[in-house]
């Protein structure tokens, strides 16, 4: 009797974030034939870059769980992390399907699916993500800056991918566009709030932005992203920091090694395990 108000809200499991995560095969139902004229190795390598970015940032954001400034922000950051882990699963699975040679060797009879082999059994040197996503979270302001910059760049990119010849990648990008639009909106709003909040929040925001800005170039030159970021900074009355990129282009910081040591510890202890 009391549930009628909720009946329409809780439709089925798929309505919730975990619903989609519960599928065994992330690419179920997708056409995985690599189209003519596309080099499968290049396609796989591209998906790996995009997948690693999503995986590492999703992991970082999941570290906020139970540590956010308030419960509402805890739920919001977890939603963003869930979206990114979901993107990572799809992209790593796509990469593995296009070029099985990418997938690390596991002991005979290991049931570990290809996307997990890529996530949990590669070393830092084989990860293709930008250093921007592997840096430790910093405070909430730094996280807001990072999500803003990352989501803005990735959204511009995913919008362009909507006419990519590979149907699977196109599908993944189309879904990602909706998610990233929300991430950008969330971070953009907080960026403006923190800029106009207190002296402390402004100081922290500017410090966070300087850290993030230094690593931004790795995401590539993107006029559309530039334009959007310019508008957010304007709305917040914040000047783009004058910082030089750190000298680690192409490589990784030691933070990635630490992150992976933790992330991969259980999976690697049980290479034949079933989860």
């Amino acid at each position: 009797m009391d549930d009628n108000a909720y009946a329409g809200l809780l439709v089925d499991d798929a309505h919730w974030a975990f619903g989609e995560a519960a599928h065994d095969d992330p690419l179920a139902g997708m056409d995985l034939t690599v189209p003519d004229g596309i080099d499968p190795v290049e396609l796989a390598s591209y998906c790996l870059v995009l997948g690693d970015d999503a995986l590492v940032l999703g992991h970082r954001l999941s570290e906020w769980c139970s540590r956010a400034p308030d419960l509402e922000e805890d739920v919001a950051l977890a939603n963003i992390a869930l979206d990114l882990v979901g993107q990572a699963r799809l992209l790593l699975a796509r990469a593995a399907a296009a070029d099985p040679a990418l997938v690390p060797d596991l002991p005979e009879g290991s049931p570990v699916p290809a996307e997990d082999a890529l996530a949990f059994f590669r070393d830092a040197g084989d990860f293709r993500n930008a250093t921007l996503v592997e840096l430790p979270n910093g405070d909430f302001a730094e996280t807001v800056c990072r999500v803003l910059v990352f989501a803005t760049h990735r959204l511009a990119l995913f919008e362009r991918l909507s006419d990519h010849p590979d149907r699977a990648l196109r599908g993944i990008a189309a879904r990602g566009v909706k998610e990233l639009t929300y991430h950008r909106d969330f971070a953009g709003r907080w960026f403006v709030v923190l800029a106009g909040g207190t002296e402390e929040s402004r100081r922290r925001l500017e410090a966070g932005l300087a850290t993030v800005w230094a690593h931004r170039r790795e995401l590539g030159e993107d006029p559309q992203a530039e334009e959007v970021l310019g508008r957010v900074l304007d709305a917040a009355g914040v000047t783009a920091p004058d910082v030089r990129p750190p000298a680690i282009l192409g490589g990784h910081t030691p933070h990635l090694t630490d992150l992976l040591a933790e992330m991969q510890s259980v999976a690697r202890a049980h290479p034949r395990g079933r989860w």
Partner: protein, 95 residues
């Protein structure tokens, strides 16, 4: 410790087309814009196609359940005590 608790908001969701918005719960937010985002995150877990209203709890005027109640007389109930979770009558589906 500085006390700056965000105000309470009431959240109403239209779960599908053709239905009224229904009160689903409350949350805290610093302002209307973030309240709407929070509502989406907390009460719809981002499902598409729903419409959400948020309204500050202190903007709601409520009737008194019992005119004899000394707590509410004689103010005319401009400020209700605490507004979360209205009762939705059982005989009015999707009120």
């Amino acid at each position: 410790m500085t006390r700056s608790e965000w105000p309470l908001y009431e959240v109403f969701v239209r779960s599908k087309r053709g239905l009224n918005h229904v009160h689903v719960g409350s949350l805290h937010a610093p302002d209307d814009a973030l309240a709407l985002r929070h509502a989406r995150d907390v009460y719809t877990r981002r499902s598409e196609g729903v419409s959400i209203w948020v309204v500050r709890s202190d903007a709601i005027t409520a009737s008194s359940p019992d005119e004899k109640d000394p707590l509410f007389a004689p103010s005319g109930d401009k400020v209700y005590r605490h507004p979360t979770f209205y009762d939705i009558p059982d005989d009015v589906p999707h009120m």
